[in-house]
Assembly symmetry: C2
Homo-oligomer: 311 residues x 2
């Protein structure tokens, strides 16, 4: 069965959809800025569960995932649209009021104003589609396609925390925990994305939403390059050790997804001179188009495009 990336690539080439395929579409706005736009659909029991997500955390996450796409282009978020399909049962409660109060709170933190959307009824599962518009200085959006052989590969913060948090939630544990927080209330890396854009540091960028392997493969495919990841350099979330084996923690860091950190490539000398904090070099871009390897304990293995897929 084709996966969603194959379907989208097929549509792109069939209909010449040149604007489709990065974290955001980049559209003409005015003489100084380009317009960024992105949509993310969240479906109950597929992308979240109301068993462990309250309206407040869902309101936060619904906006955060789209802000993360704006961050991955080096842009600033400005406006949002929110479309919600909700059951009559949930409609009768204060769920949407609490959802929106929390949405509004994160929106204010990032300077985002709600501009519209839609409300529909659904017989059962909640569906949310979040659209965010942003802005980036003209010609300065950071695409997935700019990685060059010899570039370093960098990631912000740490990985695997969101996947570990999900594993804790799926076991039924609801005690407050740093890893659960990482899963339910991700922080979009808007400041870092802007910094990388303003100082011309990143050659290619994506946010870690599907998993390091999958997201790095997107950069390599778009850029026509390959990559080698050094396993011992991958920054694993410091709290994972208490809940996972060593094998599990690397697996979560490589394929877990939803950390919403920034994964980017840069000229290593150029980047080293900039002293950007809280970023780790985890590997190098190679000229071997389409080949994504990981080196662990002196052994080289294919990392491939492991990560979350809907299909």
């Amino acid at each position: 069965m084709r996966n969603e990336f194959e379907f989208i690539n097929n549509m792109k080439s069939l209909y010449s959809l040149d604007l489709v395929g990065d974290d955001c579409a980049v559209l003409p706005q005015n003489s100084t800025h380009d317009l960024l736009i992105t949509s993310d659909m969240l479906v109950e029991d597929v992308d979240f569960s109301l068993k462990w997500t309250d309206p407040e955390t869902l309101g936060h996450k619904a906006l955060a995932v789209s802000l993360s796409d704006i961050a991955a282009m080096g842009g600033s978020p400005e406006f949002a649209l929110l479309s919600i399909a909700v059951s009559e049962k949930l409609w009768k409660t204060d769920f949407l009021d609490r959802f929106y109060q929390s949405w509004h709170s994160i929106a204010q933190n990032y300077g985002v104003e709600l501009a519209g959307g839609d409300i529909s009824r659904v017989p059962d599962r909640l569906v949310i589609d979040s659209t965010v518009l942003g802005s980036v200085p003209k010609g300065r959006a950071i695409w997935r396609s700019g990685a060059r052989p010899g570039d370093g590969i960098y990631v912000s913060g740490s990985l695997g925390g969101a996947a570990a948090g999900l594993a804790i939630l799926e076991k039924g544990d609801r005690e407050p925990h740093e890893l659960i927080e990482k899963q339910l209330k991700p922080t979009p890396q808007i400041s870092l994305g802007k910094q990388l854009q303003q100082f011309h540091l990143a050659t290619a960028m994506i946010d870690v939403s599907d998993g390091l392997g999958s997201d790095l493969s997107h950069i390599c495919e778009s850029s026509g390059v390959g990559a080698i990841i050094r396993a011992e350099r991958v920054p694993i979330h410091p709290s994972i050790r208490s809940v996972a084996s060593i094998d599990e923690e690397l697996q979560w860091a490589l394929s877990g997804g939803e950390d919403f950190e920034l994964l980017f490539t840069a000229d290593p000398d150029h980047f080293a001179a900039a002293s950007i904090k809280n970023v780790t070099q985890i590997g190098e871009i190679t000229g071997e188009r389409g080949r994504v390897d990981i080196e662990a304990d002196g052994q080289m293995q294919s990392l491939g495009s492991i990560g979350f897929r809907h299909f």
Copy 2:
């Protein structure tokens, strides 16, 4: 139970959401144009049924409903985002390929390019969120709030056809029929909307999506005015007579919705001089704030805000 309009109005005032509440949000773009943006969510078994909608008609309608919102501001559509939550069962078929082929065909007719979106899995019902961006000369968007006492009330084309088509489909009849076409493949009134904008003709405008009563009430609320509709002037779809009683046909025309015609107000002298075709004056705006009446057979009745609501 509060309906969705009450919920949205409450959110608007609680959080000062000044951009929310018209057919599109109007955002700053550049020195000559404003940006328009609108989202519409379509849920299977609520907004459409796969019993009588094939992928091609759904692809058409998913875009047409949002184009109609751009038309209602007097704008030109330019870009779209399409988010789809689809079951694995449907994913395995050619449903989405056929859906998108038809979507692309109407998009080309109206000069719209797909810029992005999302694909998610859903356990059962198909959900589509369609976002369209458009453009309008700066300061020239036609709002719901500009109607003035003494303005005429006008509607394009005819009403009730989509509701009659739905009634035919719900009876199980699948023979090709003009009314079924009106329900399944609405025509967005982009040219008329632009014409009214370019010639400064309309003082307020909305598209007829929920029903004449409901949509006219939105204009009256936003404008702080009232309205009188003359029943005998309401242009009823010419093919309705064969499938409905006289009472039913007026009911469908007043509350059926989904005709996606343009409902607007204008200075009657100014409008008469412009000789716009295929538009009928159906009443007048009054100074009686919030009062929407219909005059039929010499009797005045409250029309209220009858029409489609999700809640």
